[in-house]
Subunit: 319 residues, 2 copies
């Protein structure tokens, strides 16, 4: 196993394509292809995209109830390159709903909270995490945590992984993310800004705010920060400088589904082949995200897709 992905709060991802979505109306989705369900949660998505890039991974975290069983069975069906070792809990795994409107180019998302996690569940998880760690070179810790998981949990996981000499990639939001960054054990840190454009208590508005956030992450101990800047760019910061990577073509908002997770998978893919080339990983990650954005649905992109989009963005040095 090359990669360990941690998804504490997986989901059954339900993607609906609804033309002309309007609040307070009944919509009928007539085409069965316009209502798709698949295993989800950010770490699980990374495992799925990695399988398309021929990278094997072990997915761990918590799943629960009827819906959790659906998630795990569907995940195993995706690819033999994905192994799972989830801790089963009693309450239902959540369902995340994304409504894509290709006519008005909107994406409306409703994410739920997930099952309650007990002390015992956490201990069981730690045992599986340590076993997974021994068999991996890169650990991806991504997404939100369900109730019962302490704020410093990603920091704890990052520290254990770093102590074992692993590359640690964290994408999250709020205290869970900030404490992980502050542990100094994260290799690549990417704040999940989809909900609120805010980091370390600062609102992000102008490009310089995003640049400042990326540099702040590096100054707090991460090797590289990746901060999405609106739809078409990513601010990348390392100890050597800060850059803005921008797509050359306009990206449709309704095509954003899965691009953040493709970005992480692209970086992982590059670092497995070329360890320590973080800036190269950032460029490969950007190409993977753009490749993903070529599709309305969340798709499993191939290595060829990623190569095809390697020239589809510009790089501007900010510092």
């Amino acid at each position: 196993m090359d990669v360990l992905t941690v998804t504490l709060n997986p989901a059954l991802d339900r993607e609906l394509i609804v033309e002309n979505l309007e609040v307070d109306r009944l919509h009928r989705v007539k085409n069965p292809k316009y209502s798709v369900m698949q295993p989800g949660g950010k770490g699980v998505n990374v495992s799925i995209i990695l399988s398309g890039l021929q990278v094997p991974s072990l997915a761990i975290g918590f799943i629960g109830g009827f819906i959790g069983t659906v998630v795990e069975e569907r995940l195993r069906e995706v690819s033999p390159l994905i192994s799972t070792s989830f801790v089963h809990v009693e309450e239902e795994t959540r369902e995340n709903i994304t409504i894509v409107d290709p006519i008005n180019d909107t994406m409306t998302e409703i994410n739920s909270v997930g099952p309650s996690i007990t002390e015992e569940d956490l201990e069981m998880f730690m045992r599986r995490f340590r076993i997974g760690l021994k068999r991996s070179r890169i650990v991806v810790i991504s997404g939100s945590a369900p109730p019962g998981v302490p704020d410093d949990f990603y920091a704890t996981l990052s520290e254990e992984a770093r102590a074992e000499g692993k590359v640690v990639i964290v994408e999250a939001v709020g205290p869970l993310f900030e404490k992980a960054v502050e542990s100094g054990a994260v290799s690549i840190a990417k704040p999940d800004l989809r909900g609120a454009q805010e980091l370390f208590g600062q609102e992000l508005v102008e490009l310089e705010d995003y640049q400042g956030a990326a540099e702040e992450i590096v100054s707090r101990g991460s090797l590289m920060a990746v901060v999405s800047f609106h739809i078409e760019g990513d601010v990348i910061a390392t100890s050597e400088g800060t850059w803005l990577l921008s797509t050359k073509e306009q990206v449709e908002r309704s095509h954003l589904l899965g691009t953040g997770d493709s970005l992480i998978a692209g970086a992982v893919h590059h670092l497995l082949i070329t360890p320590d080339d973080y800036f190269g990983a950032a460029k490969h990650a950007m190409a993977a995200a753009i490749a993903e954005s070529a599709y309305v649905e969340k798709m499993i992109i191939t290595d060829e897709d990623v190569i095809r989009f390697e020239d589809f963005f510009t790089i501007k040095k900010l510092r």
Copy 2:
């Protein structure tokens, strides 16, 4: 078994309470109670509400895939008064999503199409329908049909049920509903106007249009028509006259969930005790719908709830 409910296209009903729902935004549902899943589909809902009124029923129809299994298992958990005998099909049962916004008083619904039904599935269903029919006094045929079900299928079911001397209640929309009405075998016909205010090719705008639609249904052979008039009223027509039943208090739009199915369950409940008293059934039905509308969520109302709301509406003779 007193009642047979037919739901050709059941669903996993997912109700989300989202404050300030806006298109093109990411919403996080923080309270687990604000994301509820339960077995759904209009006939299934009637079975659930009947169980709260202590009326046993047999629910039949088609269910499929992982989600179908969740629906059937959850339905059996609701009450021992509900028996099931669904035909299992290969494709996934759909999920119907309702997003209730109690702040802006809106209800946004997304219904999907459901699994494809083959000739063989239909034959298997007919066998179960005939067995169920023998054990029931009232048959409720309610909701949409999945792909592969012919337009005259509700007409066929209604004719078979009427030939056995059963009371037949149909709630549906489009050709499926209109052909059932035209068979002359339906006892109570209720068009499902949630999607479009239209019947027999006529748009319904003014009260007199709704009255006309109700009278048209009766003239085409139904004993009673129940046509919802906006939020707070129902037009009832029989061969003896036409009436408008209106709630005395304002009903919140976000509380409408399940009121149509409660209305049907209320009518069934009354007809089991007082056969042939259709106008009495209409009044009891209205009380049940108002009782349901007292709740934001889809609730299982009790007989006491229904009795409590018996005086909460006015009756005006239109003809």
